[in-house]
């Protein structure tokens, strides 16, 4: 076994794509400005290594980026396509929902449809309303789409490799706010992480914090502060929203007796409601034994503004989690 290596989140993503492209010639990448070197770029060096038949800058036509991927997969490619910000999911939602999510189900998996749509959430980092949407609720609602939102370099790499090998569509949503901040030791040897398995990022017996993506880090920070006050939070990182690891959530809540769900997306119709309903379906008796009512912390039902310092305040902060959890004791 080779030694570990220390990588950023964006490097982990870049490695996953390149490793898979080496393994499988049918993989091709396209998206707006995937070749050049910008803050959003995850695909540096691919042109140099694989040539221009494997990576292409597209015209700014998000609908087309995804729509073409469906057809290219129908015709034998395994596209990895990018939308520069997850805020562009609405622009391509027909293609995502109907072409990728629904149509192949109808056709009985008579053909495979191996497409990865990679699109970073850019919420809470001062991008302004139009670019700051965390749109997971929109794709989670679609039949047939898997939805993956990693929080660490290790997870990002292992999950993305699994997504790329999946024979059916996956929406992979990293978080732009994590790209360069947190280096992590990851194995130099190949590894993959299965979808549908959540990860306990911190063990604790007093309360379960269910979250995903960047909010995992926020929750961990809050948990450290809570620990100083004698409250030990268990932080569950969902990693994939679809499939959802409801078993792990139920087991943890059974243990702690308290649950708070945290996400960056707008509250109304956000993913928290789905988690809650799944929990009740999974463990109907559990809810009566809880020591406190279930809470959610999310962006409010108010447009994120084009104002970095305000926008940041609208996303759950360490302080918000800390305070809300404390109030639950």
């Amino acid at each position: 076994m080779a030694a570990n290596q220390s990588v950023t989140y964006v490097e982990a993503i870049n490695q996953a794509i390149k490793e898979e492209m080496r393994r499988d010639e049918d993989i091709a990448v396209w998206g707006v400005d995937v070749i050049g070197d910008f803050e959003v770029t995850t695909t540096l060096g691919i042109l140099e290594e694989f040539g221009e038949h494997r990576i292409m800058d597209t015209p700014i036509t998000e609908e087309g980026i995804v729509g073409l991927a469906a057809g290219a997969a129908f015709a034998g490619l395994r596209p990895i396509v990018t939308l520069m910000h997850a805020s562009f999911v609405p622009l391509a939602l027909d293609a995502l929902f109907l072409k990728l999510g629904c149509n192949y189900q109808e056709w009985g998996y008579a053909f495979q449809l191996p497409v990865v749509v990679m699109t970073p959430v850019s919420s809470g980092i001062g991008m302004g309303a139009d670019l700051a949407l965390s749109p997971e609720a929109l794709v989670v609602h679609s039949p047939g789409l898997k939805v993956v939102m990693p929080s660490t370099p290790y997870d990002a790499k292992g999950l993305l490799k699994t997504c790329i090998r999946d024979d059916y569509p996956v929406i992979f949503m990293p978080h732009l706010g994590l790209y360069n901040d947190n280096k992590q030791e990851i194995p130099a040897d190949e590894y993959t992480i299965p979808l549908g398995k959540a990860d306990i990022k911190r063990k604790g017996a007093d309360i379960t914090i269910v979250t995903y993506s960047r909010m995992v880090l926020t929750a961990l920070e809050a948990s450290n502060r809570l620990s100083e006050e004698g409250i030990e939070a268990e932080v569950i990182d969902l990693r994939s929203l679809v499939p959802l690891d409801i078993d792990m959530i139920a087991a943890s809540v059974k243990k702690t007796g308290r649950l708070i769900i945290v996400h960056e997306a707008y509250k109304r119709g956000g993913f928290a409601g789905e988690i809650l309903f799944r929990l009740i379906e999974k463990a109907p008796e559990l809810i009566k034994t809880l020591k406190h009512d279930i809470k959610r912390l999310t962006a409010p039902n108010i447009s994120l503004p084009h104002t970095a310092y305000l926008e940041k305040q609208m996303i759950p902060q360490v302080e918000d989690i800390f305070r809300t959890v404390k109030e639950m004791f």
């Binding site: 729509g67 057809g71 072409k99 189900q105 039949p143």
Partner: protein, 321 residues
């Protein structure tokens, strides 16, 4: 012109047109009999020449997506009458398409999209794959005049032109989208001008003349196959029936449908073939019976297959995620 077209192609096109026509009529019966859903048929009889003329230039491994109104012409691309009818009556064991939605991976038939125009991007994606995989396959995307204004089609044109993709866009201009005349939704007289804005060639053809469709699409398809990029064909034809059966059609100027029905492509082509002695009257009668028999037989075969049941459909979707 007709003299230069190989006889077997002339005959194939004739068979395809007749098959299409007879299937369109058969679909009506099927809907009435309850053997397909009682959907409201969107009839396409009289518009066969477009698909048929184009398909005569396509290979089995090329890709095509047609409109819901011309699904009766899919045998021209190779799909068997058996598969068409099995799909139509929800007995195709590969999937539950049916109604207006057909698919045949083997013959490169891309499912139609109920959200009009979105399937054109899918076809364009197939063309991209054809290119990136170093094949010489081409893709054809046929869509209605009204659909032609969908942004997804413009996006397809943007990609196809910027990347020189092997795709032929075809506007099946039957003069109406539901009750809206094509004159109201376009400011251009000649719909093939749309291509000028994107930088590839376009041409308007008499869509009721299968030979003209054949010739023009032949040139464009060869051009695309050789790596020279997309083209647009605007095929002028006419929707002889209502948008769906039973709709009042008040928007039609008087006499218009009558005028156009004189240009029905099937009798017109039949006459040409007779004049040229490519076919005799008795050939034609024989073929008529042959196709009718094949349709009957295929339907009987289809009936021998199980109709989709909801449990099977659920199973077929592998697993709820």
């Amino acid at each position: 012109m007709i003299e230069q077209v190989p006889k077997d192609i002339l005959q194939k096109m004739y068979r395809d047109m007749v098959t299409g026509r007879k299937l369109d009529e058969f679909f009506l019966k099927l809907a009435a009999s309850g053997d397909s859903d009682k959907d409201v048929p969107h009839r396409g009889a009289g518009e066969e020449a477009v698909v048929v003329g184009i398909c005569a230039n396509l290979r089995k491994d090329d890709y095509i997506k047609v409109t819901t109104r011309t699904r009766h012409c899919l045998t021209a691309k190779g799909m068997s009458i058996k598969d068409v009818l099995a799909t139509k009556s929800y007995r195709d064991q590969r999937g539950v398409g049916g109604h207006c939605n057909y698919y045949d991976h083997e013959y490169g038939i891309i499912p139609y999209s109920g959200t009009l125009g979105e399937d054109v991007m899918v076809a364009t994606g197939a063309a991209l794959a054809a290119k990136l995989r170093n094949t010489d396959r081409v893709a054809v995307a046929i869509y209605g005049d009204a659909s032609g204004n969908r942004p997804s089609i413009h996006s397809s044109m943007v990609f196809a032109s910027a990347w020189k993709l092997p795709i032929i866009f075809v506007i099946q201009n039957n003069q109406y989208g539901m009750g809206t005349s094509v004159r109201k939704s376009y400011a251009i007289e000649d719909l093939s001008d749309r291509a000028k804005g994107f930088g590839f060639p376009g041409k308007t053809v008499d869509g009721n003349d299968v030979l003209e469709v054949y010739e023009v699409s032949k040139a464009f398809i060869e051009r695309a196959r050789e790596g020279n990029g997309p083209a647009l064909i605007a095929a002028e034809t006419y929707r002889l029936y209502g948008h769906y059966e039973g709709e009042g059609q008040k928007y039609r100027p008087e006499g218009e449908a009558e005028e156009w029905s004189k240009k029905d492509p099937l009798p017109r082509y039949t006459k040409q073939l007779l004049d040229m002695n490519v076919l005799t009257k008795s050939d034609i009668e024989k073929l008529d019976h042959e196709i009718e028999a094949e349709i009957e037989e295929s339907m009987n075969f289809a009936r021998s297959l199980p109709k989709w049941k909801i449990e099977d459909y659920h199973k077929n979707c592998i697993a709820e995620l």
